[in-house]
């Protein structure tokens, strides 16, 4: 794979942690999340550029998924504020954040197994008239909308090559197909920012290229993508920008090339004290 040339929008952006972006869609300030004595997330300042693909990488336990949870309202921080598209979404519940256009997928795919594929897709559409309790009774109020939604769903299924599984229960799909379904379903929400949590995890290599192509097409449609990934080839292939987290904080940002050469990043992945003798504390019969 060839290295991507730096997206021109990043011309002049400093490759430092917390750097300002020309047109940030998501800005986070002083976001912290502690669990007991452990600090899972401690992000001082982070800006996500609109309309590009940003990769979020870092060793296990770096706080990436927790950060996703915080941004999208699935978790509450101890401190911090963040703006999405100019709106303060800090106190909003998860479903409202999704309605505002910031949508996320999950590390362990949440394909709703007991719904059919097409129902999964139709679920994704937002602000459906038929979802309101009283209006649901009168089919006439929502049937036209439902047809339009179904059409859009079928188009997306076509695009993601899932049309042949349309009527099947989502539980019968393979792992890779579920990833596609989740991505397609997220697209039904017409998101401005889509946050993919390890979209390639557990996907066989043959399917990876296809998924990568889909992710790129999201950007080409004008959406913003942030994705968490461990596979460096994937990151190098599609990221316009890379953000590195370790131990809860953002330690580096930049193009893939500059990240690869960054000493702090290398240390975070390999560990700084690998040339010191390991030191064990004696456990003296303390209670667990």
């Amino acid at each position: 794979m060839s290295e991507q040339e730096l997206n021109p929008v990043f011309e002049g952006v400093s490759p430092t942690a917390g750097s300002a972006k020309p047109d940030a869609i998501l800005t986070a300030d002083k976001v912290t999340r502690r669990f007991g004595g452990l600090t899972a997330v401690n992000v001082d300042h982070l800006e996500i550029q609109r309309g590009v693909i940003t990769g979020l990488i870092g060793p296990n336990g770096a706080g990436k998924t927790t950060f996703f949870n915080l941004m999208t309202g699935f978790d509450t921080p101890n401190e911090g504020t963040w703006n999405f598209d100019g709106i303060d979404v800090g106190k909003l519940p998860a479903h409202v954040v999704a309605r505002k256009g910031m949508v996320r997928t999950f590390q362990l795919t949440k394909a709703l197994s007991r719904l059919s594929v097409i129902d999964n897709m139709k679920l994704g559409a937002m602000q459906q008239t038929g979802e309101s309790f009283f209006k649901a009774f009168v089919k006439g109020l929502w049937s036209a909308e439902e047809k339009a939604i179904e059409q859009r769903a079928d188009e997306l299924l076509e695009r993601f090559k899932l049309s042949h599984m349309r009527e099947e229960f989502a539980g019968t799909l393979s792992g890779g197909q579920r990833k596609l379904l989740e991505m397609a379903r997220a697209l039904m929400t017409d998101p401005k920012l889509i946050m993919l949590d390890e979209p390639m995890a557990g996907v066989n290599p043959a399917l990876t290229q296809s998924l990568l192509g889909h992710v790129k097409s999201l950007r080409d449609e004008g959406r913003t993508v942030v994705f968490v990934e461990h596979d460096m080839d994937v990151v190098r292939d599609i990221s316009d920008w890379v953000v590195v987290m370790a131990e809860g904080s953002v330690i580096a940002e930049g193009s893939h090339a500059s990240i690869g050469a960054n000493q702090a990043v290398i240390d975070a992945y390999l560990g700084t004290s690998h040339d010191q003798a390991l030191d064990f504390n004696e456990e003296d019969g303390e209670d667990a």
């Binding site: 996703f68 699935f74 978790d75 999950f106 209670d287 667990a288």
Partner: protein, 419 residues
């Protein structure tokens, strides 16, 4: 068929519910002279519900079911030469009777030429509150004993065991079976020990033959919850089938002479219950804290997979929890039976309170139930100062609702991570 232990309806707690008192006057030398023939009338909102007359010992007893009443002395029945000390107070109102309670009422009398004495055991608010608080602590200790198992079973297996109340009843009824003259006729102390063993065994059987196989099969927790509800019904009605519907009592330690500690009167039974519960709970706390099994229990309750990969035999720990929980519940049942009589659904009555206590303290913790139970016991007993006794369990629901709104993990529990 084991059937048919139809325990004879013993002269029991049923007969003890109502108003009682002893009317006497002091003679010149300070001795007491009982007055016979004084009539009392008990009424509630709908009219007269009972009356009684003092016997040759000056004692009267008017049985009424649990509720709120007023009791009045029939002034015309007071013999010549004796008058009420407070003639404008021939009636006492808003007195609560709880199940199993013989409530003493006092109507000070003056005899001709007799110096009036100050009676003890008046029904002042402070005295009532103190008595209720003591009852609340006793009740709380009983709930604590019964609910430790419930909390630990949830902690180690994730099961909300709706059949836990039946383990309590098994203990109480088991002791009755061993103790009553229609059963084996063994002294209650020995019968209690046997009953605890029985309940512990029941807990173990539950785990070994029902829950473990279901876990192996991969049955989900919600399905198991529903199954436990089915088991609860099955167990309760089998017990009803075998034991009949009457409230019963143990042969020993039934009616006791009260003695005074300060302003309140207590019976020796109360002290025994408090003492035994405290000792047991302390021993359990020490066991959980210090012994290897106790630590293993806490480890499994905290994080089962981690405990397993550390080499802990999780199945054995779970079995221990069930046996211990069952035994404790059974013991709690015996104490509950001593305190308030034995009935087929006594455990189920307690179940809601147990849930309130455990939720308050923290579902899954070891110490949570203790504090939660004491608070629940005190709260619902003291609440009878303002609400009728038959609705006092509402207090437990209120605690439950408030805790869930404010701090759902309880006092000692941990909030779960989302996502």
């Amino acid at each position: 068929m084991a059937g048919l232990f139809m325990f004879p309806a013993s002269v029991g707690a049923q007969d003890e519910t109502g108003f009682t008192g002893q009317i006497n006057v002091r003679d010149g030398e300070g001795g007491k002279v009982p007055i016979e023939g004084i009539r009392f009338v008990v009424e509630d909102g709908s009219g007269v519900v009972g009356e009684g007359v003092t016997d040759a010992d000056g004692v009267f007893f008017i049985p009424v079911p649990a509720g709120t009443y007023s009791i009045a002395v029939d002034v015309d029945s007071i013999p010549e030469g004796i008058t009420l000390r407070n003639p404008d107070r021939p009636q006492l109102d808003d007195l609560d009777i709880n199940d199993g309670q013989s409530r003493n009422v006092l109507f000070p009398l003056l005899g001709e030429g007799v110096v009036s004495t100050v009676g003890a055991g008046g029904d002042g608010l402070a005295t009532r509150a103190l008595r209720l608080a003591i009852d609340g602590i006793i009740f709380g200790l009983i709930i604590a004993m019964c609910s430790i198992g419930l909390s630990l079973i949830f902690g180690t297996t994730g099961l909300t065991n709706f059949a836990h109340g039946e383990l309590v009843t098994v203990g109480a009824l088991g002791a009755l079976l061993f103790n009553s003259t229609g059963g084996f006729g063994i002294h209650i102390v020995l019968a209690a020990i046997l009953a605890v063993l029985l309940a512990a065994a029941a807990g173990g059987v539950n785990e070994k033959f029902l829950w473990r196989p279901l876990r192996r099969r991969g049955t989900g927790l919600i399905a198991m919850l529903v199954i436990s509800i089915g088991l609860s019904i099955l167990g309760r009605y089998v017990l009803l089938y075998l034991a009949g519907g009457n409230r019963q009592k143990y042969e020993q330690f039934g009616t006791q002479t009260p003695f005074e500690i300060g302003p309140v009167s207590m019976v020796p039974r109360d002290l025994w219950i408090i003492g035994l519960s405290v000792v047991t709970l302390v021993l359990v706390a020490l066991a959980v804290q210090r012994t290897k099994t106790g630590k293993a229990m806490r480890a499994v309750a905290d994080n089962r997979d981690l405990a397993e990969s550390s080499g802990i035999d999780v199945d054995r720990v779970i079995l221990t929890v069930w046996v211990m929980g069952g035994g404790l519940a059974g013991f709690g049942g015996v104490l509950f039976g001593l305190n308030q009589g034995i009935r087929w659904d006594m455990g189920f009555e307690l179940l809601l309170l147990m849930f309130a206590a455990v939720t308050l303290g923290g579902l899954g913790t070891a110490y949570g139930p203790l504090f939660g139970s004491l608070i629940v016991g005190l709260f619902i007993n003291l609440s009878t100062l303002v609400v009728p006794p038959e609705v006092k369990n509402v207090g437990a629901l209120l605690i439950l609702v408030v805790i869930l709104l404010v701090r759902p993990q309880g006092l000692f529990g941990q909030r779960e991570r989302i996502g």
